[in-house]
Every structure is written in C-alpha cells, then in structure tokens.
Homo-oligomer: 461 residues x 2
C-alpha cells in the first residue's frame, strides 16, 4: 500500500525534515516490538507537540490511513506492530515534563518520557510513580498507560489505572478530549480516563498524562521464604495478603524454575525447595520489625523450609540471586520461550501449577513459572525449539489448553502485558459476547474510521 500523495504532503506540512521517515530502510525498525513480530509501515513520524499529534490524527482520519502509536517498542504482544501498514507515530521525542506540582502530588508528562526518567525526575522530591515494569529503564509512560502495565509494586501500590488522574488525548475522529481531573477525587461524567488506560492505542492517542505521585517510603526490607511445594507457598501467599503488612513485592518462583537455576548456577537453597517467595516490605524504619513479624507469622506453615531476612545489602543480593539467575538461564536452555502473564485467584495457584506441570509432561515441553504472586499474576514460560518440526504447533496447542485452564480457575489471560495481537483470538473465551459488542461499539464511537490500531486488543469483524 502506498500513501496517497496529498496525504503525504499534509504530513510534510506538519512534520519537519527528520521527523518524518518514508524510506523503508528507516521505517523498518519502527515496525516491530518485543513480540518479535514485524510489519513495515509506509511512514514513521515523530511528534514533539500535542498539536502535531492532533494534526496527524485528523489527516489519517480524513484519508482513512492506519495509524499506530508507539512508545519504545518494549511491549510483548504486537500491539505496536502496524498490522495494516500506514503510519507509525513514535512518541520517543515527545518526552517533556509539562508541569510538576509536588504540593499537589501530581506531574503532567508527555507520553514519550521513559518510566525511569520520570522516576529520576520525582525522586529528589521524595516521590515515585508506582508502576514499575521490568522494562522501566526503556519503556515509555505512554506505553505503560496503553497496556496498564505494572510490575512487582502493584501488589501494594496498584497499576496505572490506580495512579493516573487525567489524560489529554486525540480520539480516532481527530477530536481532542481532556479526561479526569487534577485531584485524587472526581465523579463528574463517565470515567474516560480508565477507559483509555489499557485500551492499547485503539481509542485515542494520549498526548499528556497527569500522574498521581506517591511519597517514597523511608526504607525497605527483603525477605525470602522457601517451601517444600507450591501448595504450601500458595497457602502462605493468601495468609500474607490477608494481614495488614501489605508487601510492596511478593514474587513467586516455582519448583521447575528452582531446578533449572540449580542446574546452571548455585541457588543456595534447601535441597527439597519446591517453591520460593521473595517478599519486600517498605515503610518507616521503626515499622519494619512489626511488619516482618507479621509476615513471618503468615508465611509459617508445615511446608516452610526456610525463612530469611536480609540484614545487609549483600544479603539482599544473595536472596535475589535465584530470581535474577532465572532469565539468563532460560535464555541458555531454550531457543525460544513463550512468556505469558496469566492471573488466577491466589488459592488456585497450586491447581494452576499442577495443571501446567501436567501439560508440560503431556506435550514434552518444559514450563517454568514465576511472577507477582500477591496478585496471582504468574509468568508462565513455555520453552521450545521452533527449529524442531512440529514444536511450534505443539507449543501453541499447549498454550491453548493453558488458557482454558486459567479461565476455568476464574482467572484472566493477561495481568499486565495486554492482548495486542498475541492473545486477540483468545479474548472471546474470557469476555462475554454482550461485553465484546459494547467494546466494539465504544471503539467505533472513538474511532469511526477504524484507523487506530485496528484488530488489536480484541477481534474486530
């Protein structure tokens, strides 16, 4: 597909030289994300101001040109891959802090600012923004909002939906809207802010976000609990989440992952270790002892093999060693992994892990699991070799059964990665037909020509 000449002329009016790529060699790298999918867009633009983004959407709307918003391409679902070509709007150069009000605990940023740059900006003033995806050093706040991305801290501090006050955006019809408020309360009109958050660029392009900041805690402590099996760990997770020392991280590693690390490095764990919890608490120094005591009591059960509290930074690092060894180990042993991020109610974790082990045995594919246990959000890593004949099909059949299991356990297909293309065709197994019909209708209202990221997030007829 070639872009119409008058449309290209419009783009050139809006974007100066250097902010508009049309050479395929330049455009190619803007057509992929961390799903490893790649589609060549016809043009890439780099807005630096709201007005440019608005003019861009209006032009795409008028000429019915597909438009895909892109942060830094760290997404894992293909949501920023320009499936139908057209224009990619890369927000990487639109990354200013527009307003910072420490006294009102908010900051207004453009979408291209990285999560890390935002944290660095507010930290000297005693604040942080809770969402902390693993990719924080590279990923953009705009991307975090598009996916409602979170990370370990969500268990205590919530996701972007809990930490965003308002948005400025341009709908697919090219109309500017301002959603939400500058305050932590506000009930006038429908909640369009949270409707846009997590909508994966299908409704509007976000050009400004007013983020709610949280005061940094005085200190943090790291604990590790090792269990004989997943059942004992799950029992502890439920108990930990039910006592008042809400952890700021409650990470889980299953027995397969422990075995894998053990084969390739020193895990420093008891021999019978079948599951491991990494727990962090934060707050005032004087509040550490009662929090640790309360968590220790909740973590204690017949399956607990070891409970350790790090007293020094060195010990913190020693405790995290198994968790940190995991990703490099996974890369070492399998040419390819599918990394899912399903969620189930905490009490269903043992059933989920047992079911995954059964699938792993039946399909002959290693599956290792870790993740944000306090939310029941498990990263299921399915390891396989796409070079082997039939292995890819096997992996996807296994995945299919896994999603069925998750939904039977009243879970959800994604806790933080989103849907994009990867899970699009499974969505109607989770969402009922009436809800999907309403989502389609909302999509059409915001984006009547269907230019914004068509056929992402859920199937579009």
């Amino acid at each position: 597909m070639a872009l119409p000449a008058p449309f290209l002329a419009r783009l050139k009016e809006v974007f100066p030289a250097g902010a508009l790529f049309t050479d395929p060699a330049d455009c190619w790298v803007y057509g992929y994300d961390n799903s490893k999918r790649q589609v060549l867009p016809e043009a890439v633009v780099f807005p630096t101001r709201h007005e440019q983004a608005a003019a861009l959407v209006r032009a795409c709307h008028e000429y019915k040109i597909p438009l895909t918003a892109r942060g830094r391409g760290t997404g894992t679902t293909g949501a920023t891959v320009p499936l139908f070509g057209g224009v990619v709007a890369s927000f990487e150069r639109m990354d200013r802090v527009l307003e910072f009000s420490p006294d009102n605990r908010y900051i207004v940023v453009e979408p291209g600012i990285t999560n890390q740059a935002l944290q660095d900006y507010v930290k000297p003033h005693g604040f942080f923004w809770p969402p902390d995806p693993t990719s924080a050093a590279f990923c953009s706040v705009g991307g975090n909002l598009a996916y409602n991305s979170a990370g370990p801290r969500a268990v205590k501090y919530g996701t972007p939906r809990d930490n965003t006050l308002g948005l400025r955006a341009i709908t697919g019809a090219g109309e500017e809207i301002r959603t939400g408020v500058y305050t932590t309360k506000g009930v006038v009109g429908y909640d369009l802010t949270r409707l846009l958050i997590g909508s994966e660029g299908t409704l509007a392009l976000i050009t400004e976000a007013t983020l709610k900041l949280t005061p940094l805690p005085e200190t943090r402590r790291t604990l590790r609990a090792v269990y004989r099996d997943v059942g004992a760990a799950a029992q502890a997770i439920a108990k930990i989440m039910a006592q008042p020392a809400v952890p700021c991280a409650l990470e889980f590693i299953d027995g397969n992952a422990i075995d894998m690390v053990r084969r390739y490095s020193t895990a420093g764990l008891p021999e019978q270790a079948g599951a491991l919890l990494m727990i962090e608490v934060d707050g005032f120094k004087q509040a550490m002892a009662p929090q640790i005591d309360s968590i220790r009591a909740a973590a204690d059960n017949a399956g607990l093999l070891e409970f350790r509290v790090a007293e020094t930074q060195e010990e913190v690092e020693a405790l995290w060693q198994t968790r940190k060894a995991l990703s490099p180990t996974l890369r070492k042993i399998a040419p390819k992994k599918i990394n899912e991020d399903v969620v189930v109610p905490v009490t269903e974790l043992p059933v989920l892990i047992a079911g995954l082990n059964e699938l792993s045995a039946r399909y002959g594919l290693p599956i290792v699991n870790f993740g944000h246990a306090g939310n029941g959000n498990i990263h299921v890593n399915l390891l396989y070799d796409p070079g082997k004949p039939g292995e890819d099909d096997k992996a996807h059949a296994c995945l299919d059964e896994m999603f069925g299991l998750v939904l039977r356990l009243r879970g959800t297909l994604s806790g933080e990665h989103g849907v994009g293309i990867e899970k699009r065709d499974y969505v109607d197994r989770e969402l009922d037909a009436a809800s999907l019909k309403l989502m389609h209708a909302i999509k059409r209202q915001f984006d009547p020509e269907g230019i914004l990221n068509w056929h992402k997030g859920f199937p579009m007829a």
Copy 2:
C-alpha cells in the same frame, strides 16, 4: 402516564405480590432521595434475584418504560428520583453475600447490602472495604458504586473505583454483562467495570459486585492541628500529603465553621483558630510513633497554634468534638443549606476559601466549609432561608459563581456526591464538548431506548 396493561402483566409475572407496588400511596416514598426532590413513579418493584432484575430491564426496554435503580435513597443529587415516572427498582431486598473468599481477599455481594452490613460481615475476618460515606449505616453498596461514593478513608485507601474487581450487570438493552475479574490485576478488554462505577444508573443495573477487601490495620491514632488561617492549614495539608505517613483521614474545618460551633457550643480551641485539621493514621502499634513524628513535622509551620495527639479514647472524642458539633449547629442556624462537595488541588484551598468568603459577603449568605482536605474535597455549605423572598435565587446565583471559581482553580464540581439532577446543568462547564459527545454515545450504546435514568449525570438532548 399510566403503564401499559401488557407491561404491568409482565411485571406481575416476574414479581410476586408484595414485591410490586402500583398504589401511589405505596410508591410515593420511593420517588425521593436526600436532595429532597420527589417524583411519583407508576410502579415500584423489589428484585431479589439477578434474573428478576434482568427480566425487568428487558420488559422496560421492550415497552420503553423509564427505569430508575434505587439503593436506600441517601444520595443527595436526585439521581434516584424517577424524573419521568415509570418504574423504580428498589434493591433493598437484594442484599445477600453471594461468596466470600478471605484467602483471595474478595467478597461478592448483591447491590442492596448496606455498607455497614458489609463491613460487619468482613470485620471478624480481619478485613474492611475502604469506601466509608457518612451514610454508611444506611446507604447501599449499589449506591456507593453508582456514585463512586467515598469518605474520609479515600485519602489513603481510594474510592470504589479502586476497590472493586468486577461487576455483573444488565445493560439498558436488557443484556447481561460480566465486567472485570476476580483478581487484583487484569487487562483484557476495555475497563467496563470503572465505566459503570460512577455512572449513576444510566448505563446498566448492577446486580452483583466483586469487591476487593483490605486487611484491617492493627491500630489507629487521632491528631488535631489548629491553624491561624486557611493558608497555613493548606501549606500543612500539602506537606502532610507529601510525606510517607499517608493519613487514613485528613479532615479540614474552616474558620467560619469554627466560629459557628463556638457560638453554639464549646469548641475548646485556641482563640485565634482560623482553620483546623483532624488527622488519623493507622498501622502497626510500633509504627504509630514514627508516623506521628513525620506528620507533626509536616504540620508544623508559622501558622500552627496547637498540635495535639489523643492518648485515650476520651481524648479522641474531645478532639473530634468541634467536627461533630458542626452538623447539628448548621441545622440549628439555617432552615436550608446547600451542601456541595467540590474539589480543588490542595494548593488552591486558600484561594477557594477566600473566594467563598468574598461570595458570602457579597450575597449576604453564610458559607461554612469542611471536608476531606487530603483529596482537596471540600463540603461547601451555603446557608439560606428559602422562606425569605429572593433568597433562593440569591443562593443559586452564588452557587453558580462558586462553580466558576472551582473550575478556574482546575477543580471538579463533585468529589463524591455525583451529579444527578442537581449539578447536571453545570457539567458542560467542566467537561469538553467532545468528551460529552462520547459519553452520550456510550450512553446510547448501553441503553439504546434511553430508559435508564434519562437526563441524569449530564444533559441529554
């Protein structure tokens, strides 16, 4: 308007005798709320099961009969007043706990359960549900969700939007939807849960809610800080909100309110008191001292007259005395009050209060202010005598200017009461035309015949 006979016959099929009122004398009391507005519905029904509610909406949809959902009528905005007659669905008899999972920290309830009954149910298990409107003893959870009602605790624990995992509902088209998840994370599809919360019964009837529970803190302490003026208090509020001991209540009372209480009872406050903050912190016993120290440091400024920490339950009550004397005093001195619940960024509080004092002087109407200062959510009480000629008009002209002031300060017209009928005609001064158009479109998608609470929340053409 008389209900069509075949429609009435349908209602009789669905609702047994005693669950369907058509006698105006019976219906009359279901046509009002705490806005003191009242309109007579043609029928009142009392669903006790989801299926009944669903059959009701389908019948109303088919016959195009206005349908207004009602909790306990404690709303202050007229949102449950059946403006166009038709049927009122009172959910007071649909109040069961359907499922309680302490280990997964959620409870599934029907909408008619009162906030208090819910709290009483989960408290023995060590949990609470954070939303705590003043009317908690009487108001229903369904109403809390419809308005996104909060209370003092929202400053630390958020509003219903932050504390609800999922909903079961029937759209105005009579279709059942299940929104959200049973877990604290989930990013599949658009966020219909939060779209329904705060939509004031205009999109769907909620028949079940899965609520996120929070572990009860070990203990709580009450502090009081008295300031020379609002400026000093506002400075303290900003500082308190920027330090890590996030209070679980941060309530504000202005100088006019203090003067008023002083005239009618003993306030026990320093003579020059021009503003007062009631502050509560919760957590572990050992965490009280550092939290109080941190708040004391933040509260200290040149305008601080007195800072007291209650050591006993008696002292707690003494500190709350001024606040508690306020509402009876207001009832004593003015035949009528307009109680607004505007919100402004914390730093704008002194400008807001000064502006309100100017309006009060200019219109010759007393205005006293108190509220949830940590959120910038101020209850503005405009006192007047509707018996005096012209007083009602004066009060509403004053209100109009007040809303203008709030919006100039980047505030919002409502923090927790909602819009209903009372503020409907001001909404387009806060929301932009493009957002309103989208809200209209969403309303039409959920409720194609416009049967659900038409012309509430925002103007419908």
